[in-house]
């Protein structure tokens, strides 16, 4: 079956997209989860729909307007919550719905048929273009280089911002840079699983990895591997029963989570039993 599938260009593209999504989401997702920024990421995701609507209306690639929109709202949230009295989660709530509202308005104002709208909402790894792949390659490279060069500082800031400030580290600059990378990662992965599901690519692999390790670096590495497995499983399911790939990928990841958690529980019970036995 595999050899037969690989003959199609769209299948190799979607495999590549799956690999690249696992890498970028594995890295950025670990940052999001450990810093408890999941709600914020949900806000950025939905806000970027405003950019998609604007892109359709003015007739250019929605990825670009979504990226600009996503980055601006991410930086906006960071700025408003740091510099003003408004609570961060309220800012997120406002931007979350405002972006969606703008998106809906522009999509409806766009005359005629709106192509691929469903793929932005629910994701379609099978329609990923070579151009999308190139964008994802660039993003993954930027993320890998950034995290390798500044790993210690990112870890340090994520763990204890205030302490990092006392050590003369540009905490503000790093926060903004990482926020922009979070937004870019979200927007470029929207094509794969859709706006509604992208948050799970950034959280489920990390939650599974966190069952096995309590080390930031290892969570990144294990998340990437789990993301890969989930993407391949999801692709096969999607191809076999003809459903949107986003849904099948998330379904696969949750199944992996359940299996991993069960194994952990059983293992603990088993260890406990053995220990009791030894005590006798």
């Amino acid at each position: 079956m595999i050899a037969e599938l690989l003959q199609y260009k769209f299948i190799t593209n979607s495999l590549l997209a799956g690999i690249l999504a696992s890498v970028s989401c594995g890295i950025i997702g670990t940052y999001i989860v450990t810093r408890r920024m999941v709600f914020l990421s949900g806000g950025i995701t939905h806000a970027s729909f405003g950019g998609i609507g604007i892109g359709y209306f003015f007739g250019f690639n929605p990825i670009f307007s979504a990226a600009i929109f996503g980055i601006l709202s991410a930086l906006g949230i960071e700025f408003v919550s740091k510099k003003t009295e408004i609570r961060e989660d309220s800012v997120i709530g406002i931007l979350w719905s405002f972006g969606m509202a703008l998106g809906i308005m522009f999509v409806f104002l766009t005359p005629g048929y709106v192509p691929n709208l469903m793929s932005y909402l629910f994701g379609s790894i099978l329609t990923v273009s070579s151009f999308d792949i190139w964008l994802m390659v660039c993003l993954s490279l930027v993320l890998i280089i950034f995290f390798v060069l500044f790993y210690r500082i990112i870890l340090f800031i994520s763990y204890d911002q205030e302490y990092a400030k006392t050590h003369n580290i540009s905490v503000g600059l790093f926060n903004y840079l990482l926020m922009a990378l979070v937004a870019l990662t979200i927007v470029l992965n929207i094509k794969i699983v859709g706006i509604i599901l992208v948050i799970s690519l950034l959280t489920i692999p990390q939650s599974i990895a966190n069952l096995f390790t309590k080390d930031f670096k290892n969570i990144i590495l294990i998340s990437i591997v789990i993301g890969l497995i989930g993407a391949f499983m999801g692709l096969i399911i999607s191809y076999k029963i003809n459903i949107p790939s986003g849904a099948s990928i998330i379904f696969s990841l949750v199944m992996i989570f359940i299996v991993a958690k069960s194994i952990q529980v059983i293992k603990r019970k088993f260890n406990l039993k053995n220990r009791n036995f030894n005590l006798k």
Binding site: V148, Y159, D160, T166, N168, T213, K214
Partner: protein, 251 residues
């Protein structure tokens, strides 16, 4: 005995609110100062001024010797434990090594010398066996020791501790003060605490911060300092057998 920090008629606070008014204090390299005072009185604000986390509205903060150029690496800091996420996936070794990072350079690996320093510091604090553990597995006291190790790994001239005796039991508190006494031979120490009782028997001097600063160069708590409290506090007397007296609650 030489001066390392000089704070001169400083006004400081957050946003528009002035918390500290006209505060002056000189810190010397062999000091062991206990800072007491009511909640919201500005203890942490004063620490933030010294650490450079907030800029004073008015007044001067001057540093001397090597604190002048590499100030932040020469001041060790132990923050309040409740400011830290206990479930963050990081090992004890990584926490302690972060105390050596200074400035936003590209460091993805620590040198052998750094790792040896981490090992020595762990040993000194008495937690050699914890290096590879994740911080989530530690007790309150162990966590406090890890944070202390992070604060002293860079061999600071001044060590600042913000309520290190919360979340820990009495036994740990004793151990902590023993370690601090030892460290005081190499560095100046400022400790903020709620626990007025035990602190006065360990520190050399006591400063009371309640919007303004009362600093007498002795470790005897004066009536004036106590008057700034409106809540019950533990009082210790300097008799043959130290005993604890609970002051009456007025409100």
């Amino acid at each position: 005995m030489s001066k390392i920090v000089e704070i001169q008629s400083v006004f400081a606070g957050y946003n528009d609110e002035i918390i500290l008014k006209d505060v002056s204090i000189d810190i010397f390299d062999d000091d062991f100062i206990g800072i007491i005072g009511p909640n919201g009185g500005g203890k942490t604000t004063l620490l933030n001024v010294i650490l450079g986390l907030i800029k004073p509205f008015k007044g001067n903060v001057r540093f001397y010797d090597d604190l002048k150029s590499k100030r932040n690496n020469k001041i060790g800091y132990l923050p309040q434990q409740n400011k830290i996420d206990k479930n963050f996936p990081i090992t004890v070794n990584d926490v302690i090594l972060s105390g050596l990072i200074y400035g936003s350079g590209m460091i993805s690996r620590h040198s052998k010398i750094d790792k040896q320093k981490a090992k020595d510091t762990l040993k000194r604090i008495g937690i050699s066996d914890l290096g590879k553990h994740a911080i989530g597995e530690l007790s309150g006291g162990q966590m406090q020791k890890v944070l202390l190790a992070r604060a002293i790994i860079s061999s600071p001239r001044l060590l600042i501790l913000d309520e290190p005796n919360t979340f820990v039991d009495n036994q740990f508190e004793g151990e902590l003060y023993e370690i601090l006494n030892e460290l005081n031979k190499e560095m100046s120490i400022i400790i903020v605490t709620h626990d007025v009782g035990t602190i006065s028997s360990y520190v050399k001097t006591i400063a009371c911060v309640n919007r303004t600063l009362h600093y007498h160069k002795s470790n005897v708590i004066t009536e004036e300092q106590l008057a700034s409290y409106n809540c019950p506090i533990k009082l210790i007397t300097h008799g043959e057998i130290p005993h604890t007296v609970l002051k009456k609650h007025n409100h």
